[in-house]
């Protein structure tokens, strides 16, 4: 098997990035029952804010160093999450969930238009965040930025998993997802949980988007389409499962990477890697309709 290790690392890296974006998606679904069609646009905003601070000419005090620019972009992401809760979700409390879902579609178009208004829709060069020298690893050669991306995405996924499992806020968020009124009865503020869920979703989307942008070396507004690409991931893993999002992301990443590396050539089918995740998705849905790790409805007998 030639190229096994590079393909594995590429698959893991893409998978971890999908997992990050999917995690935000799952989080919002779990906490608020809303399917967030604006996930990709949260990513877009975060990436373009960073881009503006680091590379856009004419911006005051440019260029910002990476850590500062990313920190600022993450702060914007948190603010965006809080703002969405305040302006969009809170007035819709008590309305049918489908209205809120429709609003997220509107929100996605709005955010995309704002980004396009400021930066245009053409392809822009994205300066590299990580050094991209070649590293010798187990006899194969890999560029360092892939390892960086993999490491950062993996670390973030680990931290978020620990956060949901052990921190008081994480437990409160899961509690609110289980039974909102009961959570309310113990003083857990549902509004706060919603705001935190959207903020975390925006933050992980931003980081995922930066890793993608760094990998591609360029950005345009179609970067927001990642929001739709993670659909197979979340449905595969289960719409409401955090571990499911992580494992689903990695499975999809691997399938893409290995099918691009081996199957396409063998079978002579160009672009097979973009179709296979959906094929798998259909199979999984037939066997386990709530996804691999989706929450089963607990029924006591």
């Amino acid at each position: 098997m030639p190229n096994f290790l590079p393909l594995l690392i590429t698959g893991l890296m893409n998978g971890a990035i999908y997992a990050l974006v999917a995690l935000g998606f799952v989080l919002i679904y779990k906490a608020t029952d809303v399917i967030n069609f604006a996930q990709g646009e949260l990513l877009l905003v975060g990436v373009y804010v960073t881009f503006a601070l680091v590379a856009e000419t004419g911006f005051p005090l440019r260029p910002w160093p990476w850590p500062l620019a990313i920190a600022a972009a993450l702060a914007v992401a948190v603010g965006l999450g809080v703002l969405i809760e305040r302006l969009v979700l809170r007035p819709l409390i008590g309305e049918p969930i489908i209205s809120v879902i429709m609003v997220t579609i509107g929100l996605s178009q709005l955010l995309r238009a704002i980004v396009a208004a400021f930066f245009g829709t053409s392809q822009r060069a994205f300066p590299p965040i990580f050094p991209s020298h070649v590293i010798e690893l187990f006899g194969t050669r890999i560029t360092a930025d892939r390892l960086w991306a993999l490491g950062i995405a993996g670390l973030l996924l680990l931290l978020l998993s620990l956060f949901f499992r052990f921190s008081t806020t994480g437990i409160a968020m899961r509690a609110a997802a289980d039974d909102q009124q009961a959570a309310l009865s113990m003083g857990i503020s549902i509004k706060r949980v919603f705001a935190i869920a959207w903020s975390i979703a925006a933050v992980v989307a931003t980081i995922g988007g930066l890793l993608v942008a760094n990998n591609n070396g360029g950005i345009n507004t179609s970067l927001g389409n990642i929001g739709l690409l993670v659909f197979p991931v979340v449905i595969l893993g289960g719409l409401d499962s955090i571990p499911g999002a992580i494992i689903g992301g990695i499975i999809i990443g691997m399938i893409e990477s290995f099918s691009a590396g081996y199957l396409n050539v063998k079978l002579g089918l160009e672009g097979l890697e973009s179709v296979l995740p959906y094929v798998l998705l259909i199979i999984i849905l037939m066997i386990r309709p709530y996804g691999l790790f989706g929450r089963e409805i607990i029924e006591r007998v």
């Binding site: 437990i171 409160a172 009124q181 959570a183 009865s185 857990i188």
Partner: protein, 263 residues
């Protein structure tokens, strides 16, 4: 400690559920709130704990005071912080969380370091929860879930607990056990308890004071010893005839007695 003065509660702007209800709970007491289905018992508890709002209900008249402060306009989180904790009807444990995570969720409003000790204290009250500490609570039996719901309330260190039908759907032996623990919590932890129950006999046996509700009003209030002797209560709530013998349904011809408070 808690006094409700003449409150009116309306759901959806039109449905009048409580019509001038007043009641008083003194510190350290167990107070029972009795009444038939739809009398407004749960609504009363929810209007105290601030849980009416998500159901489109509102206190439109009258006041609720706790420790001298008005609480009828506060939101639920504030009220929990002030020391009132409602254990909702039907247990409502977080099914996908483990027992221990449920307990930690109960301590959400606290920021002190005593949470671990309090988890141990809950396990001391309910040893069965310790055995199940890492199990998902959704898979536990009804009795264990009720224990968890009460334990979770203890975790907030409340000064007052509102218990909504803790006996619902439980085997008689378990009900005995849980009511024993409720009395211990009242005595040992100094938690004042307002108890809503369908099981009037049981409620009157543990409470110090009782209120009888019908149609959104309090129709009778007295010390439980006196309530137990009241002819109407004996007839309509305890199912006892003139003697201490339970009435056979065969001997009931029709509703001869009229409840005296309905007129």
């Amino acid at each position: 400690m808690l006094s409700i003065n003449n409150i009116e509660v309306i759901y959806n702007d039109v449905i009048l559920v409580l019509k001038g209800l007043s009641l008083e709970v003194r510190e350290g007491q167990i107070v029972a709130l009795l009444g038939s289905n739809g009398a407004g018992k749960t609504t009363t508890l929810k209007s105290i704990s601030g849980l009416l709002k998500p159901e489109n209900g509102a206190v439109t008249d009258g006041t609720i005071e706790f420790m001298g402060q008005r609480i009828d306009r506060r939101d639920a989180a504030d009220i929990v912080r002030m020391g009132i904790f409602q254990v909702m009807e039907g247990r409502r444990v977080f099914e996908h969380l483990t027992v221990e995570e449920n307990l930690r969720a109960g301590s959400y409003i606290r920021r002190d370091r005593g949470v671990k000790d309090d988890i141990e204290k809950v396990y001391a009250y309910f040893p069965r929860l310790r055995e199940r500490r890492h199990q998902k609570s959704g898979y536990m039996s009804g009795g264990e879930q009720q224990m968890l719901a009460i334990g979770r309330a203890l975790m907030a260190r409340p000064t007052m607990m509102l218990l909504d039908e803790p006996s619902l759907g439980l085997a008689p032996l378990l009900v005995q056990e849980i009511f024993g623990i409720i009395q211990r919590i009242n005595r040992d932890e100094g938690v004042t308890i307002l108890l809503v129950e369908q099981n009037a006999r049981l409620a009157l046996s543990v409470a110090d004071y009782g209120y009888l509700m019908e149609n959104g009003r309090v129709v009778m209030a007295d010390e439980t010893a006196k309530l137990r002797d009241n002819a109407d209560v004996r007839e309509f709530y305890l199912g006892l005839g003139a003697g201490d013998t339970a009435k056979s349904y065969r001997s009931i011809k029709s509703y001869k007695r009229r409840k005296r408070w309905l007129s």
